[in-house]
Symmetry: C2
Subunit: 258 residues, 2 copies
């Protein structure tokens, strides 16, 4: 489909194309397309921009990531389809750990995703700048999750203190929190169980949120530990989600139908 760059919904339509391509390449499950549609709608409701509560969450997330001892970025098909470059860039600012963790785990999709990383970032992998976990080494199990969805890598999510989970499912977010981990979610739905259960929820579109998160991680590396701790302590996820929902409600009320 040819969409002119001047089209008011250009960005959104391009993301849709990427998602459909990812399905064709075997990176994405069909349910991933439906999930993308749900996200599109919430992005539309927040006005397709990073709203103030999201920026607050991004700052708290950046501070949490810098303070963490063993952070891991969990990726699924949608994340790879939309934001593989930013994911790798963020991982490089941290310890390089990226773990593939699929809701509908099949060997084919695992390999398709592994291939994308190797094709695009083969050098970074060789040089040890990033490590792709969760494919051949998903031998541990998250308690209270069904076996396939709960499979994780020992040096990845299983032992992580902080897990960044873009586009996660609610059960898994909750199970990770129950393991004592801090979970940072990027989820456009402020009402989802992922959003409610996570330690920090960034209600923003992935390809807008990740570059901002990278920017703040870089900036905050210059801050001292006390300042970072204060940013984390000042953040209240429930309050922030409430502000997000109020923002959407106010925005809806102001829309005109004439």
């Amino acid at each position: 489909m040819q969409v002119p760059k001047t089209h008011p919904r250009y960005e959104s339509l391009m993301k849709r194309e990427k998602i459909i391509e990812a399905l064709d390449k075997g990176i994405l499950a069909k349910a991933g397309l439906i999930a993308h549609g749900r996200g599109e709608m919430f992005d539309y409701l927040i006005g397709e921009r990073t709203i103030p509560p999201a920026l607050k969450a991004i700052e708290a997330a950046a501070a949490t990531l810098i303070l963490s001892k063993n952070p891991v970025i969990s990726v699924n098909g949608n994340t790879v389809a939309l934001a593989i470059e930013d994911t790798v860039e963020l991982a490089k600012e941290l310890n390089g750990k990226i773990e593939v963790n699929l809701f509908y785990r099949t060997k084919e999709r695992e390999l398709a995703i592994k291939n994308v990383f190797e094709e695009k970032f083969g050098n970074d992998i060789k040089e040890g700048k990033i490590t792709i976990l969760g494919i051949d080494d998903a031998t541990e199990q998250i308690p209270n999750l069904d076996s396939l969805r709960g499979k994780v890598s020992k040096e990845g999510i299983f032992s992580a203190d902080v897990v960044l989970v873009p586009l996660e499912d609610g059960d898994r977010a909750e199970a990770l929190v129950n393991m004592g981990k801090k979970v940072i979610a990027i989820d456009l739905n402020p009402l989802s169980r992922t959003s409610k259960k996570s330690t920090i929820t960034i209600v923003d579109e992935l390809t807008r949120a990740l570059p901002l998160l990278i920017k703040y991680v870089r900036e905050f590396k210059r801050k001292n530990r006390e300042d970072l701790l204060k940013i984390v302590e000042d953040f209240n996820n429930k309050k922030n989600l409430k502000e997000t929902v109020e923002y959407i409600a106010e925005r809806l009320k102001k829309l005109e139908f004439e």
Copy 2:
């Protein structure tokens, strides 16, 4: 996927399965899965039930359909996937005309949809209770739409006075209104261009709205013309959409995050 009937999201998950099946059968385009996700999210926002403004729109739609001389029900892949039975039942209460009208029109999808109608409702077609238009007879063109999307049947949408368009796209709804037709849309997004441009917009989930529409069509057949005209005249689409959006905004504000 096995989902127990007691699952709180059983209905929604079953619809998702139907949509994925339809993709596998070639009835649905991939973008139809994303569109379904957008709908899911708005359904979630209205509380997955028929809200008062939707009921008002359904009554106005029923009256309009009974008063019409040549109504046509336009169907796409999503409608066929989710609600083929109700579509046929409604058509039988009217003049039986159903027209296949696809956003991404391909011969394969046309035939896949034709086959579903023939397999499930072959007798009704033979007996003339319903007519499936828009496949071999889409020889006319809706003005100001690109050629594939604008192809319509002469005895169907082209000459219809009222077109019921479940899950429509905005351009086409507008083009049909510009042709002087009354357009009744069933669209979960009250902010969409389809919703704003249509004569009557039912903001409700298709499989909840259609049975109600059938019920009111049956009931209203007993009403006299004046009463029906009054129901139509009393309906104001912009006001009704505004009420819908306010309903969502109020509902969002009342949600608890504790």
